[in-house]
């Protein structure tokens, strides 16, 4: 459902069916709604069979990169002489993204069940759920739910009497966007600074505590019980666009729409209908100016690119951006793109872990140049300088935070040049910003 709004006919509620219903939060409430049947089934399945089912469903990672989930699980070694770990990524910090928190606070048992099934598939006895420190309410709810799941015997040394061990710990972050990057998260759990690690080695080979590890997003894991209960063919039949994009996706929509919230669509759903029908479109008298469809790290789209765009991995890529996390930022014609691009650059400058020179210096320098342009002190050559900096920040660092900072700068200058020119020519009034 388009939480906090009623279900819209254009939605396909699977994960969001019980959003807003506190009764679904408890172990009993969840069980009455069909919960934990999938875990009982999975406890009787071979790990390979679970992996194959998820592979056949077409489920792809909902954290941003869209990597096929079953394939990722198949990279885990079969040998269990060393411990295996599952990490659930509940760090949700990408500007525009607020979908995982609805799963965490309304259907925590869906996540616990999904983690448990994934743990069985990758032969892990221990799951760490890493939740961002600012999510105080979801943290409490999730911790209570984990305690309930232990008390009910779904978790523990002998899950549901199966003889299989399923342990789960909620680990609280302490304020650092970068800890959403999977290797930074592993360092953070280990009690280190959240610096991303150089890959390879990949987590499936040497991850958390040096052991084989799989990291998945909250939404990815919450979809797994539905796939086990209703079958891979049901899940893969949920598709309105490219056959490589199956299932439903939570899209959290924010900014200048009349009904911001978290909507659940079948992948391939028209982006224009999502914005103008489900979300109620712009405020009266306003028109659409720009859309950042997948969290702040993806290219900005123009209204022309939104028209005819299918909301799935391939459709948005064809329109010049990315589905990313599904955090959609909608901006109307009152928006100053230069100011917003500066604000995003400042975000990345603040969140850079500072290990890589190009990222540490590039994010800060980009921010300062954008501030200078906003103050009316920019030069025509500053745009070329920003593009050159962006080039030096892309594909040259340990993780892609650096690239993420360059992305809105490049797409902003390329697609909304008039906003920049207004400051460079003095047509736009200077803004008091920065040093």
């Amino acid at each position: 459902m388009g939480f906090p709004h009623p279900i819209h006919a254009g939605e396909t509620p699977v994960l969001s069916t019980h959003f807003g219903d506190p009764a679904a939060r408890t172990f009993d409430g969840w069980s009455e709604r069909g919960g934990y049947a999938a875990l009982r089934t999975a406890l009787g399945m071979a790990p390979e069979a679970i992996v194959d089912e998820v592979k056949a469903s077409g489920l792809r990672g909902r954290g941003g990169a869209g990597f096929p989930t079953g394939l990722k699980w198949s990279f885990m070694p079969k040998d269990t002489s060393r411990p295996h770990y599952l990490c659930c990524n509940a760090d949700e910090s990408e500007p525009g993204t607020f979908k995982d928190r609805e799963i965490l606070r309304w259907t925590p048992h869906a996540l616990i069940e999904g983690c448990a099934i994934a743990a069985l598939a990758i032969r892990a006895e221990m799951t760490y759920i890493y939740i961002r420190g600012e999510y105080t309410e979801p943290h409490r709810i999730l911790q209570d739910a984990v305690a309930e799941a232990y008390a009910a015997g779904a978790l523990g040394a002998d899950a549901f009497g199966s003889g299989k061990r399923l342990e789960m710990v909620v680990h609280r972050g302490a304020g650092a966007y970068i800890c959403g990057e999977e290797t930074a998260m592993m360092n953070s759990i280990e009690g280190r600074r959240g610096n991303p690690r150089i890959k390879p080695p990949f987590p499936a080979v040497a991850g958390l505590f040096g052991m084989p590890t799989t990291i998945n997003n909250v939404e990815t894991l919450a979809a797994v019980p539905h796939i086990i209960t209703r079958g891979a063919s049901w899940y893969s039949s949920l598709c309105l666009g490219n056959p490589k994009s199956t299932g439903t996706k939570l899209i959290s929509v924010c900014g200048h729409v009349q009904r911001p919230g978290t909507y659940e669509i079948t992948l391939g759903f028209p982006m224009r209908d999502l914005i103008f029908d489900l979300c109620g479109g712009m405020r009266p008298g306003r028109t659409l100016k720009a859309v950042i469809p997948g969290g702040s790290s993806v290219p900005i789209m123009t209204p022309a690119e939104v028209d005819g765009c299918a909301t799935d991995y391939e459709g948005i890529a064809a329109a010049g951006s990315l589905l990313g996390s599904g955090g959609m930022i909608v901006m109307d014609d009152s928006t100053d793109l230069v100011y917003q691009v500066m604000r995003l650059a400042r975000f990345y400058a603040h969140e850079s872990c500072a290990q890589c020179t190009n990222c540490r210096e590039g994010t800060a320098w980009t921010t300062r140049i954008l501030e200078r342009i906003l103050r009316g002190e920019g030069k025509e050559s500053d745009l070329a300088l920003l593009m050159d900096l962006a080039d030096n920040m892309t594909g040259k660092t340990i993780c892609v935070l650096s690239d993420s900072c360059a992305t809105p700068v490049v797409s902003g200058i390329q697609k909304f040049r008039a906003d920049f020119d207004a400051y460079l020519t003095g047509a736009a009034a200077p803004v008091a910003v920065g040093a």
Binding site: G96, E190, G191
Partner: protein, 166 residues
Amino acid sequence: MSIEATEAHQPVFVGAIRDRLETLQQSYPTRMALLLPALWMVQEERGWISDSSVHEVAAVLDLTPAYVRGVLTFYTMYHQHPVGRHFIQVCTTSPCNICGAEDVVAAVLAESGCGELGTTSPDGRFTVIEVECLGACGFATPMLIDDDFIESVTPDLVPALLARYP
């Protein structure tokens, strides 16, 4: 004339809190992994993490104080100095910014008596800071007051909201 109180350091990790920490150890294969949870425990107990607490955490977890400090300073939610009785964090990242977050910040600074970001009000009641995306962008403007997550704050709501935090 007032005499400044010089309190002896009281350890955090004694009694029930030490027990909680050692119980948590069962969930982690290394001692170091208890560092973030231990720092949270100190902050819950003391409101901030003093240098003597850094030394205590280091001793309890078999780490060096320099190491603990290095980790502590990476994470923005740990307070390295005392803050007001109520700690207010307002999101001002782009999605909230385009929905009026800067006006909310102005209202909070005025109503709290802080005047400027990062300062504590003269009565010691509030400290206000801006933070990056709180993960509730559809409910602009969200803020945290201590552990209370409050959504859809507009400037007109600020006086009644702060009145709930004496």
